[in-house]
């Protein structure tokens, strides 16, 4: 079975999220006091995950992949959301603290891999090195 991965959508063309517009996200884009919102593969293909995310996301986004191994390395706690979306998860600093640290966010900003871009409507080449 393919390893589970998590996907974070970051809005395109919004300077509040990008160090280098539409290419390199800012650590701030991974910080949320409610927990960083991601969607888990749950055995689905990237395309299936993205198509499902698009149902709720109305703006154009670039989608970044976060691996379970990265989360383990950063000691990020992955919390299933309690809403009616079984794929939706939240990344916490730890079980008792929802907001990721700057260190965790900076690592994800530098290392999360872009897998899909709404402008191009294609699955981007994926790097499975981490």
């Amino acid at each position: 079975m393919k390893k589970e991965r998590y996907y974070r959508a970051i809005e395109l063309n919004n300077r509040f999220y990008w160090r280098k517009m539409n290419e390199l996200p800012a650590p701030a884009a991974f910080i949320d006091e409610l927990g960083t919102s991601v969607e888990k593969t749950c055995g689905r293909s990237i395309k299936e995950v993205i198509d499902h995310m698009k149902i709720k996301l109305h703006l154009q986004n670039r989608y970044f992949e976060i691996t379970k191994r990265q989360c383990r390395k950063l000691k990020i706690h992955i919390q299933p959301d309690t809403t009616d979306n079984p794929f939706h998860h939240l990344l916490f600093d730890k079980k008792t603290k929802r907001e990721l640290t700057n260190s965790q966010a900076a690592y994800l900003a530098d290392n999360a891999w872009a897998v899909y871009d709404d402008r191009e409507d294609i699955v981007l080449p994926v790097r499975y090195t981490v």
């Binding site: 300077r15 509040f16 999220y17 160090r19 800012a26 650590p27 701030a28 884009a29 910080i31 949320d32 006091e33 409610l34 919102s37 996301l57 907001e99 640290t101 700057n102 260190s103 900076a106």
Partner: protein
């Protein structure tokens, strides 16, 4: 009122002194450049490097009866990177954000919070990138060489969390504004 302003050129080779009644003096050649008048205004100094220049500046302003202080201004003609004017506009945009601006319940930013960051921005050279977070804080960020990063994570209560990453090592701690400015200067090799 007689007052004075110091302008710090971004290439930091030349510092111009501008004084009401006394005209403008260039630090390098101490020649009179122009006359300029300023309304009564509380100026303030910024950054450790500026403090050193400020001492020289005072030598020039000995005859001025009421020097309120000094404002160090980053020149808007930066060859690379963002200007202070652009950053002030970005802060205006952040202030306009409404609740749920990130589509995930993030709160808007207060005028007091943005005012505090405006004051900091006016003391920084080079200018940082500015990012709002969905945790009621604002990041002032510098990147260098793809593997070095400094973030001033400025919270709603005006506390400053300094984050520095170099290669794969990082550290973060709460600091005073003065220490934050020192860290920015050191990071940028000043």
């Amino acid at each position: 009122m007689k007052c004075a302003e110091m302008v710090l050129n971004p290439n930091q080779h030349t510092t111009g002194f501008v004084m009401q009644d006394y005209g403008s003096y260039n630090k390098d050649n101490t020649s009179l450049v122009q006359e300029k008048e300023y309304p009564e205004k509380l100026f303030y100094s910024a950054g450790e490097k500026a403090q050193g220049i400020f001492s020289s500046f005072l030598a020039y302003t000995g005859n001025i009866s009421s020097v309120k202080g000094v404002m160090v201004m980053a020149n808007e003609k930066q060859e690379e990177g963002i200007t202070m004017t652009e950053n002030l506009k970005i802060l205006d945009s952040i202030l306009e954000l409404q609740d749920n601006w990130n589509q995930h319940g993030a709160e808007h930013f207060s005028e007091d919070h943005i005012d505090f960051i405006r004051d900091i921005i006016k003391q920084l050279y080079p200018q940082p990138m500015i990012f709002p977070t969905a945790a009621k804080s604002i990041h002032l960020e510098y990147d260098k060489n793809d593997n070095e990063m400094l973030i001033l994570d400025i919270k709603k209560n005006r506390s400053i969390l300094l984050f520095i990453k170099k290669n794969k090592r990082s550290k973060e701690k709460y600091v005073s504004l003065q220490d934050a400015l020192k860290a920015v200067s050191a990071f940028n090799g000043q």
